[in-house]
């Protein structure tokens, strides 16, 4: 009896444990220590930075963004003038140049990557071997080296402006870049754009209506062709109806460089080719894994239901493969965007090169400029992961 009583007595009173061994107290002790350590690091960094900046006599603050930059930029999507434009404008030019190389690179890389990924799965021995060797080579050579190969190795072999490669209506190619014909819209050109927008709206509406009708009645409607007709046909009719208000400004051979047309600078070409061929190899692997990830039973079941091969791919295999493909694909897109910062090595004027490079060297305001640059990339990456989370939530399998 006494023993049980004693046992109960012990259980009733909370056991006496040293504060250090109370899990809750210990966890808070750790966290407070960590918090203090981080705060101290930040604080001492801040104090040191201010002292160092004062000793070096470097200005601080973001006032420099309004000051005149005074250097030239090789490629700009918005008006930029060496004499009057500010560092703030340099930043915008840099971001836009990053975005243009990223968008164009993503389009090329995706097309190439999907083709390569499918080619690697081909039953045709030589096709799959070629694709595999390409993928292995591109993945195992550093991107910076590939950029150098294209820029210093291949593009330097192009002829001088006088002996430009002439592609006739497609423009000229020489060591100073690609000189493309530039479209010049005449009067009423805007109506073609409006027609295109209306066409897209019609195609969208038709496909929704056709889908709903098929769900309700089972009748099919060739919404793809009707939609394509609306998107292509409507602007075309407007274009021809207005009397084709479009002329091309053709580049003309000159001594130093061709005149007229649009110039695509060689840095852009080298960076674009290197980024898209490099990323395409990674995308190919993702696509291959995605297609292999759809179990064979799905195709067999689709065939058993009487779907044709095309329908099987379109309605059964690809939607499920995309569920596997899209999350890593988005992170490849993000990688491509971040990798575009390697442009600094060949001086393509994107964010890192023109802002964290030239502007930093001129102003010496390292802290502000590097912070702005990093935050910009961080924003891209947070937006991408926000999209990815949204997409994952949307397509996640709803299981029992």
């Amino acid at each position: 009896m006494a023993v049980t009583d004693m046992g109960r007595g012990v259980a009733d009173a909370p056991p006496k444990v040293a504060l250090l061994n109370n899990p809750k107290a210990r966890s808070w002790l750790f966290q407070i220590l960590l918090g203090v350590a981080v705060a101290y690091l930040v604080y001492s960094g801040w104090v040191n930075m201010n002292a160092n900046l004062q000793a070096a006599g470097v200005a601080s603050g973001f006032g420099f963004l309004g000051k005149n930059a005074g250097f030239s930029v090789a490629q700009s999507l918005i008006d930029y003038d060496q004499g009057t434009s500010s560092y703030g404008r340099v930043y915008v030019v840099g971001v836009l140049n990053t975005l243009i190389i990223a968008v164009v690179g993503i389009i090329f890389a995706t097309i190439m990557g999907f083709l390569l990924g499918i080619a690697r799965l081909s039953n045709n021995w030589i096709v799959s071997r070629l694709a595999t060797s390409y993928v292995e080579f591109a993945r195992n050579v550093p991107l910076l080296l590939q950029i150098f190969i294209w820029y210093f190795g291949v593009l330097r072999l192009l002829p001088q402006p006088r002996e430009s490669l002439d592609f006739g209506p497609l423009g000229l190619l020489n060591i100073r870049g690609y000189f493309a014909p530039k479209p010049v819209w005449g009067e009423g050109g805007a109506f073609v754009l409006y027609a295109l927008i209306i066409g897209i709206a019609i195609a969208f509406g038709v496909s929704r209506w056709a889908y709903r009708r098929q769900m309700a009645t089972g009748q099919r409607f060739p919404s793809l062709w009707v939609g394509l007709g609306a998107i292509v046909g409507l602007p075309l009719i407007v274009f021809l109806g207005l009397g084709a208000p479009l002329t091309w400004d053709m580049p003309v051979l000159g001594g130093f460089r061709p005149s007229g047309g649009m110039t695509v600078i060689p840095e852009f070409i080298a960076l674009l080719v290197a980024l898209s061929t490099y990323t395409a190899a990674f995308i190919a692997e993702i696509v291959r894994a995605g297609i292999l990830g759809v179990s064979k039973g799905q195709s067999e079941a689709a065939h058993a239901l009487g779907l044709r091969q095309g329908q099987n791919l379109r309605l059964v295999v690809i939607p499920q493969a995309l569920r596997i493909i899209i999350p890593p694909l988005t992170s490849q897109y993000l990688n491509l965007t971040k990798n575009s910062s390697l442009a600094v090595a060949i001086a393509y004027p994107e964010l890192t090169s023109v802002f964290a490079g030239t502007a930093l060297n001129q102003t010496g305001q390292a802290v502000e400029i590097i912070s702005i640059t990093m935050l910009t990339y961080l924003t891209f990456s947070l937006l991408t992961s926000a999209f990815m989370n949204w997409y994952n939530a949307r397509v996640a399998l709803v299981e029992r």
Binding site: A18, L20, N21, S27, F30, Q31, I32, L34, G35, V38, S44, G45, N48, M49, A51, N52, L53, A55, N123, N124, W125, I126, V127, L130, E136, F137, R139, N140, V141, P142, L143, L144, L145, Q146, F148, I149, F152, G153, R156, K338, N339, S341, L342, V344, A345, T352, A356, L360, A366, V367, I370, T373, M374, Y377, L378, F380, S381, L382
Partner: protein
């Protein structure tokens, strides 16, 4: 009508009683011919595709082979060997081939940078230790793993640091802080043990051994060994590439494990700090991190404290790769079934014991391929340090093209092609190793 039908009752002329022996498949569907038919020309579309691929190969392979081998120049003393007559050399006009003679002349620089010739034996010893320690470590069939790991983790880094720099560091100032730390750590170990009413001796012993080891290391670093000091700004080539890649991965493993554990911790502040750290470094390009560590980092340090350029790059690379490593390790931690944690807790292990003895050994084994892949990525990313003015393997190849002795139109391309071959050999063999480990781990997992 003598048609043989069983129904009519007429005698059936022939019924086979025995199975015929199996016959070989027709000649067109077996052997090399069958293989070619099945894999290259199964249909009209595939045939067109095959022919197109052969055409592409015909366009690509002969020029590359000519450039690399048949038209290449293998020996020579200066640019005349690799220049056409119009450019003042000996090659016929229109010649286009690799200039391997230039690579040969620069080989020493490509490997050692401007490391003094008479001191290069020190680098060679480091190479020997590195590959001699690493290769047996990577081969599962070779024993002595524990001894090997001790060598690679404890002996190799200290020996490398002393050999490469020449040692003789100023360590006088570190003894006192180290002693204070040692006393504090011993007190903490004793306190924890007493608090949980367990025997304090094992904890005290471990702490004492660790600090004794640190004292030995510090003393060794302070000794000169009569080696000449070699500043890091003359290091270059493969040496720098290897130093950055290996230091990066070695630093990122422990930091990455700590971050991964922190990210999965129940403590909100710890988790928050770890998530912010990981996502920040993963969200920015490495080149901005290198810019930061080379331009901004010196500003954060008290006046008078300076790091050399290589060390600053190393810090940037280590921060960056530890964030990636943390995510790799987290993948391994998440892949472990919950039962492993519950089992460990049911056995009465505390958090540290659970991690050390149950969770991490399994999780790290699972992510060996991921670690190797991170290393491949890091190895490729080391090329970026040339942008902040270090001469890694690619950097020294680029800078060698400014030498007028070998200046020809093919020099730049030759150097880049050579670099890609070397990088490809390293990265490809590592990725094969990672695939091999993946298979090995996979089968051991299923059985």
């Amino acid at each position: 009508m003598s048609q043989a039908t069983p129904k009519s009752g007429v005698q059936i002329e022939f019924v086979r009683q025995q199975m015929l022996p199996e016959q070989a498949a027709p000649a067109v569907s077996r052997g090399p011919i069958g293989w070619v038919r099945e894999h290259l020309f199964p249909s009209v579309g595939q045939t067109i595709l095959t022919l197109f691929c052969i055409y592409v190969l015909y366009l690509i392979v002969p020029p590359i082979a000519n450039f690399l081998i048949f038209d290449a120049v293998w020996s020579g003393t200066d640019r005349t060997a690799c220049a056409t007559e119009a450019q003042g050399g000996v090659q016929p006009n229109g010649w286009f081939g690799a200039c391997w003679a230039y690579v040969g002349a620069y080989m020493n620089q490509f490997i050692y940078g401007r490391y003094p010739d008479e001191q290069q034996w020190r680098v060679n010893i480091v190479w020997l230790m590195f590959f001699g320690g690493l290769i047996p470590l990577l081969m599962p069939s070779i024993g002595f793993k524990r001894e090997n790991i001790v060598f690679m983790v404890l002996v190799f880094p200290v020996a490398t640091l002393i050999l490469l720099t020449g040692g003789n560091f100023d360590v006088q100032g570190t003894y006192l802080p180290l002693a204070i730390l040692a006393v504090l750590a011993l007190a903490a170990a004793y306190g924890f043990a007493r608090g949980s009413q367990s025997d304090p001796m094992p904890g005290l012993k471990t702490t004492a051994v660790v600090f004794a080891g640190l004292f030995v290391v510090v003393t060794l670093l302070g000794l000169g060994f009569g080696l000449e000091r070699v500043q890091t700004d003359v290091w270059g080539g493969l040496l720098v590439t290897m130093v950055i890649a290996v230091t990066g991965i070695a630093a990122s493993l422990p930091i990455g494990i700590a971050l991964a554990l922190g990210r999965r911790s129940d403590m909100p502040i710890v988790r928050f700090v770890c998530i912010v750290f990981i996502e920040f470094w993963r969200g920015v390009p490495l080149i901005t991190v290198l810019f930061m560590s080379s331009v901004m980092l010196p500003l954060f340090l008290p006046e008078g404290v300076t790091f050399d350029k290589l060390l600053r790059a190393l810090i940037g690379v280590a921060l960056f790769s530890s964030a990636y490593m943390a995510e790799v390790v987290r993948g391994g931690l998440q892949a472990l079934p919950k039962g492993q944690y519950e089992g460990a807790m049911a056995l009465g292990l505390n958090w540290g014991q659970m991690m050390r003895m149950i969770i991490l050994p399994q999780a790290l084994k699972l992510v060996i391929p991921g670690i190797v892949n991170t290393f491949i990525g890091l190895f490729k990313d080391t090329t970026l340090v040339l942008i902040i003015g270090l001469f890694d393997f690619l950097g020294i190849i680029r800078s060698s093209t400014s030498d007028a002795t070998w200046a020809t139109p093919v020099q730049s391309l030759t150097g880049l092609v050579f670099a890609s071959i070397i990088y490809f050999i390293f990265c490809f063999s590592m990725s094969r190793y990672s695939m091999y480990m993946e298979q090995r781990l996979d089968t051991s997992h299923r059985s």
